[in-house]
Amino acid sequence: MSQPRSGAVVALALFALVGTVFAAVSTADFIAFLDRQVHSVTCSFVPGLGAPDTTGTSGCHAVLMSPYSAVFRASTWGGIPISLAALSVFAYLLFRAADLLARRAAADPDETRFLVAATLLPVLVSVAYFAIALLRVGSLCKLCVGIYVASAGVFVSALAAHRGAASGAPARPFPWSRYAVAFLEGVVFVAVPVVLYLALKPGYTGAMANCGTLIHPEDRYGVRVPLGGAPGGVPAIEVLDPLCPACKAFAQRLAASGLGERLDTQAVLFPLDKECNWMVGESLHPGSCAVSEAVLCAGPAAPDVLQWAFTNQDELRAIGKDTKQVYDRIRQAFPDIGGCLGRPGVRARLNRSLRWVVANALPVQTPQLFVRGQKVCEEDTDLGLDFVLSRLIDRPQGGGRTGR
């Protein structure tokens, strides 16, 4: 065994170790949320050194809460985290590299060829997830970047190891049976942690699904705003604030889940802005009263105004303390509804929207989703959304089914 050949395998082991650490931290963060509480999220290129994200504003939080962070979300609460599979794959690569070094087989081209094939998997998945992060989530997470780099590192190291091992080696038939065993070992590395994860994760009980119902779902005030969705779909009511970041993120998760299309959703506007909402001492989302008026004024175009508000939340909140400035910005984007803003009629309607919330004795928070009158628990509006919502949609009466 020559030094350069084993050097490439050592490099591969180091990159696999780096990938294992990043994937482990990401998986630990994800699993922490299985207790249905709020947690800080690690978001650093050096896990353990950077300050954790306690506000939910980092790219790591956005990615973790995105529908792409886990698979089989509709089948098990939270789904199976992709990072768990990444952890298994990097641990497996670490094992293979350590095994080659321990057996002094780093110069065996049959072994290094398998390494190249095995390291191709994290590279391909990293490319796909990098694209998703940029194009769909709109945020990059530092832990993910660490995993991308580690993926590239193991692949390049495997290529280098194989190039060195294959040079001058006589051509021989592929040892398919050895490859099959090695592949099976890889499958075991992924399967065992996943099975353990599924077996040990907390169950979803009927009590967890019971977060109340609407006392007065009727729309006596005519304040509910249709948001589109399937005609004849499952009736749903979303209590929202157009300038609330959590509402925007929730809308994105709902859209990405594909379940929103099965709902016939109506919005009840509940701006957390003291300009019109007496229930908040301070404006959590300044400007949202004015934007809510715009949504009410827009009639059938309300979903467009809402989408525009979500897109421009930061800007609108920044100017939100000056209602006139917010009105001007709305008029600029939607000239047709300019004349309606600030009028007594729309203000009274917005007030009734708030009173609908009072009549139903709802918590002063947004978003809140009610499907067939039953509330989707706040704890189920992120990682557990697909699981809980699919059960509520498929089950007309009572709470969602239990499960894991």
Binding site: R36, Q37, A91, A98, K201
Partner: protein, 231 residues
């Protein structure tokens, strides 16, 4: 053979560490959840409710409850509004004390003014009425207290003030289409015999601010205000 054992040992070692770590994380989350479910509920989130401002003292609420109940607002019923004698009886207080009840409402009230001998709402009266009624915020009750100036006979002024109160209610009903209107709006017509507004109210928002603030002009009016009290 030796290599095979080494391979197997490494395989098992890494797999056990990996699986054990994952199992530990998941069990920790499950255990935290179990503790949470067994323990007391977390910090309660505020529940949406109607406003109950600081000026809603016990005595004020007591008076309001009596007035609103007797005037058919809280319990409903056929009666709609209070006449001067009733108002005086249920309030059980002097006219000045009655008016003093509304002093904390300076920022929530408006005085809708009428022409002499008229119960017709002018355009500026309508604008102020619309603006004031639309600014309900968290208030539960809207009071309309109409009056007449002292010119003319007692009975005529009672009737005129009743018409003024009802003109306000009719406009609100047609303009705002509020299904809760009958549970929200309380009418009191006081004629010219009880609780006449004095100059203390000249600084309040009026539909005719340019008019001289004489007692006559001030009392040809309907005083309107949202009451931010939960009764």
């Amino acid at each position: 053979m030796q290599h095979g054992k080494l391979h197997l040992a490494l395989f098992l070692a890494v797999l056990v560490v990996l699986s054990g770590t994952v199992a530990w994380w998941v069990r920790a989350a499950a255990s935290r959840l179990a503790e949470l479910q067994a323990g007391a509920a977390g910090p309660a989130t505020a529940v949406a409710s109607a406003a109950d401002e600081g000026y809603c003292t016990g005595p004020l609420k007591q008076i309001l409850r009596r007035v609103l109940t007797s005037c058919g607002l809280i319990k409903g019923g056929a009666q709609r509004g209070c006449q001067p004698v009733q108002a005086r009886n249920v309030a059980a207080m002097s006219g000045d004390d009655f008016n003093a009840l509304f002093l904390p409402l300076a920022n929530r009230a408006a005085i809708i003014q009428f022409d002499q001998d008229s119960a017709e709402l002018g355009s500026r009266a309508i604008a102020l009425l619309d603006k004031t009624f639309a600014d309900q915020r968290g208030a539960s009750y809207f009071l309309v207290v109409s009056r007449a100036s002292t010119e003319g006979p007692l009975a005529y002024n009672r009737e005129l003030s009743r018409k003024r109160a009802e003109a306000v209610l009719d406009h609100i009903r047609s303009k705002f289409n509020d299904p809760d209107l009958d549970q929200e709006v309380g009418l009191l017509w006081l004629g010219a015999e009880y609780a006449q507004l004095d100059k203390e109210f000249c600084g309040w928002q009026r539909s005719r601010p340019e008019e001289a603030c004489t007692s006559a002009f001030l009392n040809r009016s309907a005083f309107i205000a949202w009451i931010d009290c939960r009764l």
